[in-house]
Symmetry: C2
Subunit: 256 residues, 2 copies
Amino acid sequence: MTERAESTDNDPLPAGEADTRRTADSSERAYNTIRKLLVEFTLKPGERINEVQLSRGLGVSRTPIREALNRLASEGFVSLTPNRGFFVRSLSTEGLLDLYELRSIIECAAFKLMCERAEDGEIDRLRQYWEAIVDGYRDQAPDVILAEDEGFHLLIAELSGNPELVGQLASINARIRFIRRIQIEHPSHDKTQVTAHSAIVAAAVKRDAENGMKLLREHIEMTVSATQQALKDALLRVFAPGNGADLKRRRRARDT
Amino acid sequence: MTERAESTDNDPLPAGEADTRRTADSSERAYNTIRKLLVEFTLKPGERINEVQLSRGLGVSRTPIREALNRLASEGFVSLTPNRGFFVRSLSTEGLLDLYELRSIIECAAFKLMCERAEDGEIDRLRQYWEAIVDGYRDQAPDVILAEDEGFHLLIAELSGNPELVGQLASINARIRFIRRIQIEHPSHDKTQVTAHSAIVAAAVKRDAENGMKLLREHIEMTVSATQQALKDALLRVFAPGNGADLKRRRRARDT
DNA sequence: CGTCAAGAAAGTGTCTACACTATTGCGTTC
DNA sequence: GAACGCAATAGTGTAGACACTTTCTTGACG
C-alpha cells in the first residue's frame, strides 16, 4: 500500500493526514482509495477481495470498507457472492463494447436534447469551455486530458436539461475511466479527439442535431478499437510473468 | 412486518453481466423491505430515515440496515447527507419526466439494436411472450400487469444483445415502479397499452426500427401525462389525510 | 417577549467482538 | 496411491458499544 496518493482523479482527496478531526469521511476515503486500486489494476480482475487485508491497509475497520465495496458493487466495479465476499469484476472486451455503446446512446440523446432545449447562452458556455482548453489540450498530463474530456461530454449532458442523463454518463465514465486513461497514454492516441470536439462544438452552435449526433457517434466509436488494443496491452502488462508479483498458479478460470 | 418480502419485486437489480449482488441474508431482506416501504410511501418523500427505528422494526441491527440504505442511495431511492443520515428522495413531477425521458431513450435504442442484431428466433420469442399474455392482460391484478409489462420491455432490452441496457432499464423500472402501479390502478388507465404492445411486436417482426421506435416513444410518452395526474393523486393521498398539521410529526403506522 | 447560549437528548459513523460459513489441510480408508 | 471425510483455519455477516455530531430543550439575558 505504498503508493503515492497524488494526482488522483478529479476528486480532490485531502489525503494528507489521517486526522481524527473529521472521522465522518472514512467511508468516502475508502471508496476513493479502493476505486483507485481497481482502476490501477492493483486489485486484479477476478480476484477475491479480502476485507481484513484492505482494512489493515487503509487503517480503518471493516465497516467503512464494506460500505465502500457495496457502493462499488452497485456501480458495477465489483460483485458480491453471498457468503464468499466481493470479487473484482473483470471487464471483458465484450463488456467494454457494451459500455461504450451505452455511452454513445446516452450522449447522442443528450446532444439532440441540448440542440432542442438549451438557451443560446448555454450553448455558448460549451463553446467557451472548449475554446479555453483546446490550445494546450494535447500537452496536458493524461489525468488532465481525461478530466477535460469528461468535462466536455458531461457539459453536453448537463445542457440537455435532464439530470438523469448527467448521472448516467457520470456513472459510465467512472467505469471506463481507467481504460480511457490507459488509452490516452497508449501510442495509438492521436489528435483526432481535438478536431472531433471542435466539430461537435460547431454542430452545437448551429444546433445541427443530426450532424452532431453523427460526429459524436463516430467520435466515440473511433476510440473503441484503439481502446480494445490498449486494454489488451494493459491486461498483458498486469498479468505478465516477471511483473514480480503474485500470480498464483491455481486453476483459475481465465476470465477476461 | 415479518412477512417474507418477495411480493412485487421479481428482480432486485440485475446489473448487467453478472449477478452483482445477492446477500441472501438479513441485509437483502432489509433492502427489499425498505424499498417496499419507499414505494408504498410508508416512508414519505423528503423524510429523514431513522436507522435505529428501522432496525427495531425489522428486528436486525443497524449494520444490515445501513448496507441496504447505501444500496438504495446508489440506486437513487434515498440520499445521504454526511453527518445527518439518509433522506427519502422526493420524486418530483419534473424528476419523473426526466426518468421517463431516459427510459424512452434506452428503450428506443434497444429496439433499434434488436432489429439490427437479433435472430429470427429471438424476435419470435418476443412475439410468443406477448401472445401468451395478451388475452387476459387487462383482467390481471395490478402487480401482475406491471410484471408482465416490465417483462415485455425488458425482453426487448435483452434482445438488443447489450446487457448494460438491460441493467439500466431494470434500474429505471425499479425507481418508477411504484408510480406505474399507482397509474395502473388509476381510472385513467385504459387499454391503449395492449394495442400499443401489439403494434410494437408487429414492427419488431417486420424489423421496422423506425416505426417501432416511434411507437415505443409514443407509448411511453402517452403514459407520462396520465402518470403525472396519478402521482399528484397519490401524493395528495399520502400527505393530506384530513389533518394537514403534522407532516413531520411522529405518526408511525406499523403496517397497512 | 424575543434572542441567544449552554446543556441534554437523539442520531450517525465507526470500531471491536462474535457467530456462522466456506476453504484448506490432514489423516483415514479402499 | 487416490478419493473421501473430518478437523482446523480463514473470512464473511451481524450485533452491540462507543465517540462524535447534530438537534432539541431549557434557562439566562437584552
